[in-house]
């Protein structure tokens, strides 16, 4: 699998990137607008200044006369400390002002035109208007031009731009925070599904039934399809094991029966030993097959756990009765000691668990001993303890003992695959219970105790 970044982080980054782009865009926009607005402000003042001057134009003694009103320049000084230049021309002859100020095309009479140029290697904004003044016989075209450097405009625009930058940054910071929240919120359904799936037991392969957002529906469908396939595959392998067990066990039974007959009839010790070995090997195989089958059953049934209300002590009594002949062959007494214990669960699985433990207890107990099955229950929990008088579990840890195919260190010579405890642990887990292994304190020889704890019904 390739390592991929978390969607949440990617979403956050993506949204943050979008926010960054928007921030920069908004900053650029505000900057442009600020420049435009300040430029217009300057233009308006320049236009007012030009108009004020133009209004003083008059004809006197066959000459164009004017005076520069104080206000015309005062208003320019009011908005900024920019340099001011001006010129008044009559038919292209400079009447007053800065002769070398650049000229530009002026519009109709009375209209104020604007122009940006360089003057004395500094950028300036110019406003000009033209008036026709009747002088003597003819008309003189008088142009009033007022110009101002753009430092003030630039400074205000820069200030606004800086302010915009600050707000953009703040916006960006807020957007990043919101992005994280949005990403978390968007991913919640996904997380919920993940949580729902991870909450499940290891064998729970039912389809995930959830109202997922449309985007997650394909994932959910795929997940359910996978679960379905997995479930079918488990069923198939279970069927396979069942079939395999049948195919193996019947010939094994034949072999064992024939071997036993043969043992009765042959004379040589060597031949007898050989036959005994055959019988033991058959027993070991059949036991392994049996436990594998049990395990398959457990796996299959925990997937769809039956929730019957049942009396654990009754179930235990039935199981005990079925085991009785096996136990009595070795003169082992089975004793049930308990009260009514209602629990909710799958009787077949629970029986399987009890039988596996009993089987173990009978197998490892010495002749002429007692295996006790003890049931107690409280409001919340029901305990079923099975104790033998055998050698106990030794020092192996519980996990090691329950691990599949592992056998305790004290099992020398006895046929067993070690799957028993694994089956029991899985049944308990499926029922929300637990299993504890202890060494009995009731008799001086020790003895192994297996305690099931189940929630009471």
């Amino acid at each position: 699998m390739t390592k991929s970044q978390s969607i949440g982080r990617r979403l956050t980054l993506l949204l943050a990137a979008v926010a960054a782009v928007l921030s920069v865009l908004s900053w650029a926009m505000v900057t442009v607008l600020a420049r435009e607005a300040t430029q217009r402000t300057q233009d308006n003042v320049l236009a007012a200044s030009v108009t004020t001057i133009a209004e003083t134009l008059r004809s006197e003694q066959a000459e164009v006369r004017l005076e520069l009103p104080y206000a015309a320049f005062a208003m320019l000084g009011a908005i900024s400390q920019d340099l001011v230049f001006y010129r008044v021309t009559a038919n292209d002859r400079t009447l007053t002002g800065y002769d070398d100020l650049p000229s530009f095309e002026t519009g109709r009479q009375g209209q104020v035109m604007f122009h940006t140029a360089n003057y004395r290697s500094v950028p300036i904004r110019m406003a000009a208007t033209t008036r026709l003044i009747s002088v003597g016989d003819g008309q003189t075209q008088v142009t009033v031009t007022v110009a101002q450097t753009r430092d003030g405009v630039g400074a205000i625009a820069a200030d606004l731009s800086q302010l915009a930058a600050f707000f953009s940054l703040a916006f960006f910071a807020v957007a990043v925070g919101l992005s994280a929240v949005v990403a978390a919120t968007s991913l919640r359904p996904l997380n919920e599904i993940a949580a729902a799936v991870s909450r499940r037991g290891p064998s729970d392969l039912r389809p995930v039934q959830r109202n997922a957002p449309a985007e997650l529906a394909p994932l959910l469908t795929a997940l359910n399809r996978l679960m379905d396939r997995l479930r079918n595959s488990i069923r198939r392998s279970e069927d396979f094991i069942t079939e395999a067990a049948h195919r193996i066990r019947t010939p094994l039974a034949t072999v064992r029966a024939q071997a036993e007959i043969a043992l009765r009839t042959v004379q040589g010790d060597t031949e007898k030993d050989r036959l005994r070995q055959i019988i033991r090997a058959v027993d070991e195989s059949s036991r392994s097959a049996g436990q594998l089958l049990d395990h398959a059953t457990v796996a299959y049934r925990t997937e769809n756990l039956t929730q019957d209300r049942l009396d654990l002590s009754e179930l235990a009594a039935d199981t005990l009765a079925a085991m009785e002949p096996t136990a009595s062959m070795r003169d082992i007494r089975l004793r049930l000691d308990g009260e009514q214990a209602p629990v909710i669960g799958d009787p077949i699985l629970l029986e399987s668990a009890i039988r596996n433990v009993l089987d173990n207890a009978i197998k490892y107990s010495a002749e002429d001993t007692t295996v006790t099955l003890h049931i107690t229950c409280s409001d919340s929990e029901t305990h079923l303890t099975i104790c033998d008088e055998g050698p106990g579990f030794g020092d192996e840890s519980f996990d090691t003992l329950t691990e599949r195919f592992r056998r305790g260190p004290n099992t020398g010579g006895i046929v067993g695959s070690g799957l028993g405890l694994t089956i029991v642990a899985e049944v308990m887990a499926a029922h929300g219970g637990r299993i504890e292994l202890t060494t009995s304190t009731h008799n001086e020889r020790g003895g192994a105790c297996v305690c099931f704890t189940l929630p009471s019904a």
């Binding site: 005076e67 320049f73 000084g77």
Partner: protein, 342 residues
């Protein structure tokens, strides 16, 4: 050979320019080093010398070459490219015109940053004092008359006592004095009594002066009964020195023009560093809280600014309006018409 001719010609040209300067006072304050800070100023040597000495206390290595000219002369010289490191003038309008037209170099420092906004224009002009225009009278010659409090009072007084004031009224010759022109144009803006006052003065055969100093001298010595639009800083200095007590400063209650003495670094400056150091010292003194032992007032608001009620004359492009040749010609024509109606 050709280079030699060129060099010679250059020397001639430079000398001719320098000699063209109409110098009123000049003093060289030697320093320990080779550096010379050349100052062109309208401020009398006597008033400015303490500042030079204070400067040399801090920077003894810098020699100061101090030249006093009239404000219009200063303006003309800088425009013509005369080489100075610092230009100090009481004619704000001319200073502003120089700066606007590119004859000043920008300067910025912590000291000038501390100036109030109204006391500087761009990074070019810095105010170092705020001084007001006042009326100075000779109390002997005013014997028996009420001292005027407003321009209206003054107008009435002059009109009602033509005999006493004939030939005994003095004011700036605005054609010559830049400061006089500034005060006159600001008066024109502020009150319509200005032209009537001019007309009345014109009938009294007014004495016209180039400078505040001479006007105050004449009032003090009884040659004038009254001088109009005199710099109060000069008058106060004179009053402090005068033991006779025949002179009195009158502040008009209707309004007072407050002029800012400003400094700028001409575009031709050679030692900008020294000029900046001087500007820093002058502006720092300008915003001092305590009057101290300085000949010129500070920019302090508790001084003349408070009395004016309007604040100082605004540093801004509007000052250039009256410098426009057309406007100036119109104004001077009108002024002459009023003053010289014999």
């Amino acid at each position: 050979m050709r280079l030699l001719y060129l060099a010679f010609g250059l020397i001639l040209w430079t000398t001719s320019h320098a000699s063209a300067l109409d110098v009123e006072e000049h003093q060289y304050f030697p320093g320990s080093g080779a550096r010379v800070l050349k100052i062109l100023s309208t401020t009398d040597l006597a008033l400015f010398a303490p500042y030079v000495r204070a400067f040399q206390d801090i920077r003894p290595d810098i020699a100061v070459d101090y030249t006093v000219v009239s404000s219009s002369e200063l303006h003309r010289a800088i425009r013509d490219g005369a080489q100075f490191d610092l230009a100090i003038s009481s004619a704000m309008d001319l200073q502003l015109k120089l700066a606007n037209d590119g004859f000043a170099l920008p300067y910025w420092s912590d000291a000038v940053e501390k100036l109030p906004d109204w006391a500087r224009w761009r990074t070019l002009i810095f105010a170092i004092t705020a001084e007001s225009a006042v009326v100075v009278v000779n109390t002997d010659l005013f014997e028996g008359l009420d001292l005027p409090e407003t321009r209206q009072d003054l107008l009435a007084l002059l009109r009602d006592n033509p005999d006493r004031f004939a030939g005994a009224v003095g004011t700036y010759d605005v054609r010559v004095s830049g400061l006089g022109y500034l005060f006159a144009t600001q008066d024109d803006r502020a009150t319509d009594a200005f032209w009537r006052l001019n007309e009345v003065m014109g009938r009294l055969d007014p004495q016209l002066y180039c400078c505040s100093g001479q006007m105050i001298d004449d009032v003090d010595e009884g040659r004038l009964a009254l001088a109009y639009n005199v710099l109060d800083s000069y008058a106060v200095g004179r009053l402090a020195a005068d033991k006779g007590g025949r002179m009195q400063i009158l502040e008009m209650q209707d309004f007072t023009n407050v002029m800012l003495r400003t400094v700028l670094i001409p575009a031709t400056a050679q030692d900008i560093d020294a000029a900046g150091a001087m500007i820093d010292m002058l502006t720092t003194l300008g915003i001092r809280d305590q009057p101290g032992d300085w000949p010129l007032p500070s920019l302090s608001l508790s001084g003349p600014l408070e009395k004016s009620g309007f604040g100082p004359i605004r540093l801004g492009p509007a000052l250039m309006v009256y410098l426009d040749p057309l406007n100036r010609r119109n104004f001077l024509t009108e002024w002459e018409d009023a003053m010289e109606q014999r």
